[in-house]
Symmetry: C2
Subunit: 419 residues, 2 copies
């Protein structure tokens, strides 16, 4: 194979371990310099390719690249930018290929969720149609854990661990205070369509009566009456109640719980989360003293408590993507395959981008308890290995250290393109 350059981009919401995938890509590519020239990273994801803003990762030291493994978020910048269909905006796809051509890019590694794999697939199709030789490999990433075919998604294990650990810790806090103070604690977690993250909180429960006592999934229509009865019973049985709720929790008619109908001082709809909405509900109906937390970005950026399994898998996906490319594969994505047996073991598999694109995997009903407010043993068996192991970053002055990239930009060769 003639030596050609590679383009790598991060896409969509970032995670605690997406840079571990970047590390896997770059370190593996560096071992094959006879085939892969330079790895260029898109500044702010695919936008960087469209704007011809390419970061030359060859200017970064081996030490800096290694540090990506323990640096959360998207070190090269990510974006929320979905390419339209080829029919709707062919100019964008053609620009992509024009940039790739100008910089002799023969490998396209796209690190993202369902939408991004769809884009990678389209780019692959178009490059074939236009007879531009391009190897397109997807790299899975999403805290939502909603990609199909792969057993789980890099990024999820770490947010799952964060949520399980936080639920255990905050649960102990509430248990300490409930006799004379807070009786209900509500933690809002991510997951607009799928309840995987909320489900992970269930791992905190080791013994009967341990928190969380109620989990609210987007897969189950919210029934206020049943919910309040469950909270009341938990306070009566345990003295307190810990509720973990998905941001995507909604009523049977599809209305999100976070659309509380409140207005702010300006008369605009309240920009609240679901946790305060639930807190209001509990206070109004049951009168309990409450506290609530919204983890938001803290959960998906929490590299300090990343799952070692997740870090390893994220790195392996990046590495496998390059190995697939070197093996001549195209329009595929490495996936995580769980091996049969009681002990958790996994291996790298592969999926066609065509089969991954735009399919959303929700929690199966048998992972949610009969009453809709907890997880089953089947769910626990699935989730447990994903939070296994700690992988602490190095610390200096009491703080986790991060990769500080030079981000040397590749000289532009083309006219500007407005994104």
């Amino acid at each position: 194979m003639a030596k050609r350059n590679a383009f790598y981009a991060q896409s969509g919401g970032v995670t605690a371990v997406i840079n571990a995938s970047a590390c896997g890509v770059i370190e593996t590519a560096r071992q094959h310099k006879q085939t892969i020239g330079k790895v260029y990273a898109g500044r702010n994801g695919i936008i960087g390719a469209l704007r011809e803003e390419l970061i030359d990762t060859s200017k970064e030291s081996a030490k800096t690249i290694a540090a990506l493994r323990y640096t959360p978020a998207g070190a090269f910048g990510s974006c929320r930018y979905k390419l339209k269909s080829i029919e709707a905006n062919r100019a964008e796809y053609e620009r992509l290929l024009e940039v790739f051509k100008a910089h002799d890019i023969g490998y396209f590694f796209y690190n993202g969720g369902g939408d991004s794999q769809d884009t990678a697939h389209k780019v692959s199709q178009l490059s074939e149609k236009m007879a531009y030789p391009l190897t397109c490999i997807g790299i899975p990433k999403t805290v939502d854990n909603d990609l199909p075919l792969t057993d789980n998604c890099p990024g999820f294990g770490s947010v799952a661990k964060y949520v399980a650990v936080s639920t255990r810790e905050a649960g102990l806090d509430v248990a300490s205070m409930c006799e004379s103070s807070t009786k209900v604690f509500i933690l809002e977690v991510m997951g607009r369509h799928a309840g995987w993250i909320a489900a992970a909180a269930g791992l905190a429960q080791e013994e009967q009566g341990d928190p969380p006592h109620v989990i609210i999934f987007p897969e189950i229509a919210f029934d206020q009456k049943k919910f309040l009865a469950k909270v009341k019973r938990s306070v009566s049985d345990n003295g307190y109640c810990v509720v973990v709720v998905s941001e995507g929790a909604h009523y049977a008619d599809g209305r999100f719980l976070s659309e509380s109908g409140g207005k702010d001082a300006f008369g605009h709809a309240q920009l609240g989360g679901v946790a305060p909405a639930i807190a209001t509900m509990v206070k109004e109906s049951l009168g309990y003293k409450y506290h609530w937390a919204v983890a938001d970005y803290l959960q998906r950026a929490a590299r300090h408590i990343a799952s070692a399994t997740d870090v390893e898998q994220a790195y392996a996906m990046g590495q496998a993507a390059v190995e697939f490319a070197l093996a001549g594969k195209n329009a595929v994505m490495p996936i995580i395959v769980r091996k049969a047996g009681k002990t958790y073991r996994w291996e790298v598999g592969q999926a066609n981008l065509a089969d991954v694109a735009n399919v959303e995997r929700k929690m199966p009903r048998n992972y949610i308890s009969a009453d809709g407010f907890g997880i089953t043993d089947a769910c626990r068996d699935y989730l447990q290995p994903l939070i296994q192991g700690e992988d602490y970053p190095p610390y200096k002055n009491g703080l986790p250290q991060i990769a500080r990239l030079k981000k040397v930009m590749v000289a532009k060769k083309l006219k500007p393109f407005v994104v």
Copy 2:
């Protein structure tokens, strides 16, 4: 000295390391069995003494007691219960002494903040007046870091570390996304009267332009115009803006920012936090896409990312309390004394309960930058050593392990007393 029993209670909001103080008390007392008989812990704090609900810690194994060192929150239960003045409710104080007498309690260790030290002081005065021999020793604890005389308060260093780490991590997330998505991120932290916790976020800033870009302290009246200008400048300079705000942030007229004036669907005042209030403000005035998080109990329960310095000091305070008692001291509290010199070193000192009670230490003005939105080098020098070092708990199945106490109750000898 004749051998007598000890009573230990946890009071007020719990912390990631208050159990490390309990561990220090119990392990040290166990080394002096000729003087201190059993250590009884109040179930739910001082309420446990009033109700004669005493947990016999001698029934717990050495291993379980050692595990307290890495177990967050109040293992014996805490309470928000402030004893009134002796004049207003003498019956409660007499009941306390009655329970102490019934169980031959000669040592009273009270682990809490300013209010609790006031109570310990009053109990000490009354026992003297009633000629009941009782050694009263306070043990400092508060995430708010607002006790006087001591250099810092056990519990604060760990929440400070959590906030600094979270700010760094979430800041990287926002930086990744800001080109096409979130531009402003707001993290709400604890601190109703003092801004120490918010200040700790400032430690995340290592290089110029690093987050946080704006800190809002309760010590500085909130000026919306200046704040919005600062946010706008940060977005213009850095591409994004990370704001850390104390729950106690307020306007010049004393109105809290969290009192946004909003109403929920029922027409009741909005029970929102300050983070969503600030987010609304930013959106309305500047139009930036935002995200916000409220750490709430997660921050003070976060034993998984505790400061090793804090854990060590919390243990040392418990140990010193017992040593003080054995040395015949009374109505005092061990404190942390920072030694002079460039390298951080500290030693145990002592303060009179009379001087500690009901004094609140706020951030000195010279710890806050001239514009009121950041910390100074003096503040950094003060805070830095307090988050130093990691002290990871042991993990099993991917989760931090905790002390599981048997909580054997001491047989009651008295008539019930309604609290």
